[in-house]
């Protein structure tokens, strides 16, 4: 919500509105980038970078904001975190801790011995997302439900249906490979 900030006047160049905007949202932006900074000294620089990005090129980014689609605080948080990520990426070569890489990504990209082709759309985007959050990010059902704004039972149901599809798809291979009677 824009509160008393007149964004239209701001993007037209109103210094007073810009100052009010900074005072109103600096705290939110600082909170958004805090967890991304690697050290305390970086936080203030990241906040400044976010404001630079917002007013750059005659407020080009700020002009894309549409209050009919999302709240200003929500949008600013996402912009702030995206900006912080870009800044930090530019400052440091991209390296990823070994433990942060999902196991699937570490797997060797050798030709699988079983020539299984995944049919397109085997899992829906929502099913893939839920499984990613469950197994790659080790999130709890309640966390996922809160993140996706659905009921926890919906998450369980989505997981169940996804697993049924995967099991059905891989089932002909399992008895031949494992030889264990799972029934």
């Amino acid at each position: 919500m824009a509160d008393s900030i007149d964004l239209a006047a701001l993007v037209r160049g109103s210094k007073a509105q810009w100052d009010a905007f900074v005072r109103r949202y600096a705290g939110l932006i600082l909170s958004a980038v805090r967890t991304q900074a690697r050290e305390a000294g970086e936080i203030e620089d990241l906040v400044q970078e976010v404001f630079v990005r917002l007013c750059k090129d005659d407020y080009r980014l700020l002009k894309t904001y549409d209050p009919a689609r999302a709240g200003l605080s929500t949008w600013l948080t996402i912009v702030a975190r995206s900006t912080a990520r870009d800044v930090l990426r530019r400052r440091q070569p991209q390296t990823t801790p070994y433990d942060a890489v999902p196991e699937a990504a570490l797997a060797a990209h050798a030709e699988p011995t079983e020539r299984i082709k995944l049919p397109e759309g085997l899992l829906s985007p929502r099913q893939k997302l839920v499984l990613t959050m469950l197994y790659d990010r080790d999130m709890e059902v309640a966390e996922i439900a809160a993140a996706l704004k659905v009921d926890p039972q919906t998450i369980r149901s989505t997981h169940h249906k996804a697993m049924l599809k995967l099991r059905q798809h891989f089932a002909p291979e399992n008895p031949a490979k494992s030889g264990s009677g799972r029934g």
Binding site: G13, A26, F51, P112, L122, P125, L129, L166
Partner: protein, 172 residues
């Protein structure tokens, strides 16, 4: 979480890993572009329609680290900011002091320069004409003084026959 007949968590995790390995080994599917910040914000607030939400979820499935952005957006905090941070950000936009009026320099219009040239040319022409008239006038007056208007040479010669042609004795 498991239901009867459903793979146990370790097996479920193994099935998922197997799926991901095969998916990454397959020909790269066209990946949905990164959603704009506004679209992610709308998704975070549950304001997207089903199609748009699926598009965002497909992208999030490939970029799960961005789920942190959504979580942060939903629990947006507000911290106390040091004054120097505020001042530094505010200084990004400069403003005119109250009451100041910026008067831009007026460019010299090209039309006026051309007009002056025309005026100058006209003035030169006028001077030439004037000089000519004055000179003519003065010259005509001087000519009249040299040759008085009561007797004209040509008149004497014409009016008084010399007798040369008439055969009369001339005065000479």
């Amino acid at each position: 979480m498991t239901e009867p007949g459903e793979p146990k968590p370790a097996e479920a995790a193994a099935l998922w890993r197997r799926f991901r390995v095969l998916e990454s080994a397959a020909l790269p599917l066209p990946e949905a572009g990164e959603p704009a910040a506004l679209e992610l914000a709308a998704y975070a607030e549950g304001r997207l329609d089903e199609t748009a939400a699926e598009r965002v979820e497909a992208w999030l499935a490939v970029h799960p680290e961005r789920l942190d952005d959504l979580a942060a957006a939903r629990s947006a905090g507000d911290e106390i900011v040091p004054p120097e941070v505020i001042d530094r950000a505010a200084a990004l936009v400069s403003g005119d002091p109250p009451g100041a009026q910026i008067v831009p320099f007026r460019r010299r219009p090209v039309v006026h320069a051309a007009w002056r040239m025309h005026v100058a040319r006209a003035a030169v022409a006028a001077c030439l004409v004037l000089t000519g008239l004055v000179g003519f006038t003065l010259g005509a007056g001087a000519y009249g003084n040299l040759f008085p208007s009561s007797e004209s040479v040509s008149g004497d010669l014409l009016d008084q026959p010399s007798g040369f042609f008439s055969g009369e004795d001339s005065a000479i």
